[in-house]
Symmetry: C2
Subunit: 463 residues, 2 copies
Amino acid sequence: MLTYSFSASEGIPLYIALYRSIRADILAGKLAPDERLPSKRSLAQHMRVSVITVENAYAQLLAEGYIYAVPRRGYFASAVERAPEPPAHRETILPTAPPEIPCFVDFRSNHPDCARFPFSVWSRILRDELSRREMKLLSATPANGALELREAISEYLFQFRGMRVSAEQLVVGAGSEYLYNLIVQLLGRLHVYAVENPGHVKIPRIYEANGLAVRYVDVDERGMSALGLRASGADVAHISPSHHFPTGVVMPIGRRQELLAWASEAEERYIIEDDYDSEFRFSGRPLPTLQSIDAGGRVIYTNTFSKSLAPSIRISYMVLPPALMERFWRTLSFYSCTVTSFEQYALARFLSEGHFERHINRMKKYYRAERDALISAIERSPLAGRAEILEQDAGLHFLLRVRTEKSDAVLSKEAQAAGIRLSFLSEYQNGPTRAETHEIVVNYSGLDAARLDEAFERLAEIL
Amino acid sequence: MLTYSFSASEGIPLYIALYRSIRADILAGKLAPDERLPSKRSLAQHMRVSVITVENAYAQLLAEGYIYAVPRRGYFASAVERAPEPPAHRETILPTAPPEIPCFVDFRSNHPDCARFPFSVWSRILRDELSRREMKLLSATPANGALELREAISEYLFQFRGMRVSAEQLVVGAGSEYLYNLIVQLLGRLHVYAVENPGHVKIPRIYEANGLAVRYVDVDERGMSALGLRASGADVAHISPSHHFPTGVVMPIGRRQELLAWASEAEERYIIEDDYDSEFRFSGRPLPTLQSIDAGGRVIYTNTFSKSLAPSIRISYMVLPPALMERFWRTLSFYSCTVTSFEQYALARFLSEGHFERHINRMKKYYRAERDALISAIERSPLAGRAEILEQDAGLHFLLRVRTEKSDAVLSKEAQAAGIRLSFLSEYQNGPTRAETHEIVVNYSGLDAARLDEAFERLAEIL
């Protein structure tokens, strides 16, 4: 007869202790496969525990498959392999996010200035939505996002980007990166994607992580070259015509028309218009989007609130041409919308009550002042006369062309040693770069103005 | 000389009106490519507007590429194609989400009971987090999620699932569907995925939307058959050992060991353990997970809060073996975490303060009562004696095996006509099904108890 002894001090229920002991015996082979276990009653008597205790232990063993029951015959041990050696105490140091290296001034990354986010308004709307909608906030929204949010985005696009877009053409998702993944699934996997060269490093990574062929097409002073695009054999072009990163080039109307003509020449050619920082144009009216002159239904417009509101707010959207929207419902609407509904409702109100517009206007003024301060600092620094500022009209970065004999890699390293994080245009370039020119990509959101003079002095010394 | 007339009543700035007129002329070919525009000063004099007005109009035309400037010579019209015909007024009726058909009783879908969600606690935590963290809520979290949330999940998994998992092994994302997409990118595209047959319809759709080969492997009374898995040629098996949908089968320990042995036989074989409703087990202790007996680092454990909290809360997580976590940082950490940070912090507190546990316990009691009411209703209905209830120990559904001469398709249709939405086990089956047995998948969360008697009478009539 099986027998086990338990100290009551273990602090776990008796039936669990019994279950564990029998399980250990089965795993160790002490109870052979198909060996019969004592009846509940006899084990209970033998061990002086209640029948319920044995019953519970057997039920758990049964549920997990350590024993099986045969009607009117009782319980039997299952054929279970010997327990695997417990995993050797893992010395593996688990990888974590790489630590941020502190530095004196970081021109390499934008640090969106969260301190200027209208936190009290956002928080008031969230609180208000929580009280007002209650249960509705817990129900899922349609696959393409809450109607209220899509309507508010549609109205915003009309008012501020001159786009006539129906709420039914909009798809909301948790970040642009997510939406690009969705676009790949929407268009199918037989497409070749062209990306801008130089360009954002993340974009080709996303397509490559999806196992797709990516072509790097050169950007000239008018944006992605139509000639290069044709030569690349790509079917889908991912471009940022409003404001190219990192060169800052704005695509002129003539080139836009060339690209639309390219798209219309064959079935299933598409242009992904990445409009991610178009809000921050400092002079004149916002530029019309490619989407708004697309008569053929070949442009997929994408934009995000993560850049314009706060990096932690993961809400982006895309505008699909009607034929692709129909395909979305047919092939991808089984996916749940990735944005929690109450954030969608809160953003809808933030847009429709005008808070977003006011926030953007404030930020434009603020960023313009930041840019001006930076340019003044350059002009009064030892760099003046040795550096040229390019494409400073929009977005949150400009190019600083410097004259030096050193390579970009050497400059980066020496600057890093001096506490200054730099990135060069050449880092965003796939393939060979011109060694004779050196353009620093200066990201200016979130810089400490008091440190600029010192930073440029250090930089001038390195050059 | 160009000349335009504007009525001041148009309500738009003069420079915009001038910009539009010149743009229209360029698009219509009235201003030929490379034709010189009048100087700003002369056009201003001629039109009796200020030079600033002309300057602003020219600046906008320049920015958009309709004109170009030649230093010391002036402005010239760009070569722009004739404007495309404005898109024919689109009669296209844009597709929308398919409407829900109202019915008397819906056994087909679970309607998680949001009314039982501890809304006031959740809302209090959110409000509190908003006040307490303020700006921190606006900064992005690491690619794998906020540390606070990962620590809270790790602690929860230890307390309630007996899993020893480091917070560094956890990846948080906006829903399980998103995480499966991430897994595809993590493992690479050369794998063949096996899914359970019958099984959740969404799972193979996700892999197929990613362009992957999917094999349907039969589920027997012990879960996915190891023999079938071997024969399928798959490298990755997506299974739900704790509680299979729709059969309700719990995979016994012996079968679990067989599958782990299968995984260890070759490099790059993995098991995705989909534990999505393991919280709702009604008797005994929660079953140990496959992950917790995986000595070889081949199990990717996934679970979600969308099922256990509310469908609109899009937060899921996965536990990666150390080697895959290292690969995640190397290949996929360029992706931003898809969950907004303040939701992550709120959920972290909801877990660590014990609210989640209390919620699950309340829901278990409530669902058990719902299930019991449903079973009583069946037992006192004309169905009694003609139907058999299977696998009722866990989750939010059980099977009702009915005897009838009609096919499942006919039954579905006739039930629908009687206001009753049904789904059959056969609908979750890929390929031929046994025509002689009929199992209704009865989802019982959110049913109206007062309608059950009537519903089963109608159903009995149809059978």
